[in-house]
Symmetry: C2
Subunit: 413 residues, 2 copies
């Protein structure tokens, strides 16, 4: 008998018919003898409907009251799913975030979970009941309703799995797993059977939108095996877990990319201590997040300083940078919002040299110019012109043998 | 400084614009220095939308989970109203039934209030905050969400007013008060400035749909002055309170009527002990509510037994009665669903004779035949043919001087 926590997102519970199908799945699992907790999101479109209602009422809705209204979305789903389970002869009970006592801090709109109380859930599970929990929501120490931010239902599921020491946390979604890269860009992309938490974190932060990044962090921290599966198709999905020493790791697990970035360069800025913070200070003060940062020392005592921001922040950052460049006596400010970042991700990289070089060679063979490079222990990222995205991803996908199950032996050590 | 509990129903909060208007009113009252608690219903149409969703999911939705889903309706309203108040610079806080701890029994769908916890509300009120409470809902001792049944928001408001010992409980609705009779039947109907709890109970139970009957009982029991007012029009409404000895009571406060009844008679049934329960037993076993009952002893050892039921139950009750009449050897079963009940209500009746006689005489003068008569301490009801409803009500309204502020002196004892 296993204890399984399942999470179904908004599209998986987007209609009465789909909730019925979810109930069928949950019911079958429960009847096989497993203990089941199900966390659900609001029906797709519902959160936006409630947000629109709040925006109609108030130009800047009070965050505490906004949580009161949007948390009703999941409350509707838990009731509907529990009704459906009861109709199928599967004993079940619904819980709001307040009822289960998903204790969070009081940061309305993006609260962080502090503690999950398990007594009531344990009691239900031991009595053979399925526990249906409203995802995305919690309650603070004063009994006020909080929400965890968009995608927070994944985090709800992982937090419950961690608290109950569940055997597995299954995230049901509209894809059948994590892929080596986006199949819309590279049709030969292959579903991964397993991937490590670290790799998944890098993939997620680089724009693979399968899982919410906080839920992966959470799962890694508490070592909760996480599985991504398709809601309505058969398959074993992708298991995200700790690195397994016994299994030989692939060198590269996947290729992530991000089309949402823009590049800004301050060229010919006198190289002196504190220049980096002088350049970036005004940007971060404007609440603009910075991703990659690259600085080269030049021969003439000047340096070129380059960084990337979200494309939506490009215009504002550009203006700020122009002001700073005058103060610092820089030669020029150059910007480009037609760039993309492509990243190789894989824990195998740690113990094998030559990954970066193979990457650069592969791109050079295709005449793709690399504009920036940034590396971490399990990732190599490059920035290239936007028009090279598909060509770059496909050539790297082939070069690193991701098209098939094997890896190119020539790359090993 | 007074403590006022206000209740706004579904049509009063039926749109963003209307909620804004309610916020204006509440804000003005709070700024005048009064302490204010506001109980609200779901936006009109919302409860039905949620019920429809539940019905689509399940043929017979589980009552506990039904309460989980429909209680979201009021939760949306409290958040919107509180946002609107905060936007107007009026400090406010919202509470669900669970948060305020409106403790009820576990009868889902028609729970009864056991206790209202006041600490949090008192704290808010003392801090100058408006307290916004979700009407219609509560929580049982196990933390499960309950609802009080349709119209339960009135009861919520009265329960809170009783618990806080409020100076007045104001029920805002789409009429400007309680009338001597339905103005659609008698255009000369006059708004009453005050009426007693007992009279209001009789009026409510006889089909005046201004207030939910349970809320009036509750208000009477705890002596909470209740005022019915129009949500968006000026006026002092109707105050429902204890009988005031100092003010001379009107003989008759109002004329209520009920078009929803049907009459059934078992004629010529042998008069013997237990015959009443033999006739009514099968009817009540079928969950059919019986209103008036009249039995006359005849000369031949037989009796005619007549009662009224809701018109929707007429066919079923008729069939049941026919079966029973065979068993009891009755001569005939006669039924009529084209009847109405007209009632005079007034505490003044207690100390004055002649009310019933004036009523019968007035109807006789109009050639209206009375089919049944039933009396209580503060009420006289007659059943007449449906076609005489308007004529009967208008002639009685005039005969008892309800058209103007005075009462006919000739009636005074």
């Amino acid at each position: 008998m296993a204890l399984i926590v399942q999470k179904y997102g908004g599209t998986s519970v987007g209609s009465i018919e789909k909730i019925g199908k979810v109930a069928d799945k949950v019911c079958a699992l429960a009847k096989s003898g497993d203990q089941v907790v199900v966390a659900v999101s609001a029906m797709s479109g519902e959160t936006n409907r409630l947000l629109a209602l709040a925006s109609e009422m108030s130009e800047k809705p009070h965050s505490r009251e906004l949580d009161v209204i949007i948390s009703t979305g999941e409350q509707v789903t838990i009731a509907l799913l529990t009704m459906a389970l009861l109709d199928r002869g599967c004993d079940a009970r619904s819980y709001t975030g307040t009822q289960i006592k998903m204790l969070t801090d009081s940061t309305h709109g993006k609260a962080r979970i502090r503690e999950v109380q398990c007594e009531a859930m344990r009691e239900d599970l031991d009595a053979g009941r399925v526990v249906v929990v409203a995802g995305f929501q919690g309650v603070d120490e004063h009994g006020r309703i909080t929400t965890l931010g968009r995608g927070g239902s994944d985090t709800t599921a992982v937090a419950i799995a961690a608290a109950l020491k569940a055997d597995e946390c299954q995230i049901y979604t509209d894809v059948d797993g994590v892929y080596t890269t986006d199949p819309r860009v590279e049709p030969k992309a292959r579903k991964l059977d397993h991937i490590t938490f670290e790799e998944m974190l890098e993939m997620a932060s680089l724009g693979s939108k399968v899982l919410q990044i906080r839920s992966v962090e959470f799962a890694g921290k508490y070592n909760v095996p996480l599985r991504v599966l398709h809601s309505f198709e058969e398959g074993s999905g992708t298991l995200i877990a700790l690195e397994d020493d016994k299994v030989e790791q692939a060198l590269i697990s996947g290729i992530a990319f991000n089309r949402d970035e823009a590049q800004l360069t301050m060229a010919g800025v006198p190289d002196q201590p504190g220049v980096a913070s002088k350049i970036l200070g005004p940007i971060t003060n404007a609440n603009i997040e910075i991703d990659m940062i690259v600085q080269n020392v030049g021969a003439d005592g000047c340096t070129d300083f380059t960084f990337t921001v979200h494309r939506n922040d490009y215009e504002v950052a550009h203006e700020l940078l122009k002001k700073t460049s005058v103060e610092l006596g820089a030669k020029a400010v150059i910007g480009d919002d037609k760039i993309v970042k492509i990243s190789l991700v894989g824990v195998g990289m740690r113990s094998h040299a030559g990954i970066a070089n193979t990457m650069f060679q592969t791109l050079a063979d295709e005449n793709i110019n690399i504009r920036m490079i940034s590396t971490s222990e399990i990732k190599v990222s490059v920035v290239v012109d936007e028009k090279y995205l598909e060509l770059g991803v496909r050539s790297l996908h082939e070069a690193f043998g991701l098209d098939s199950d094997g890896q190119l032996s020539s790359l090993a050590g």
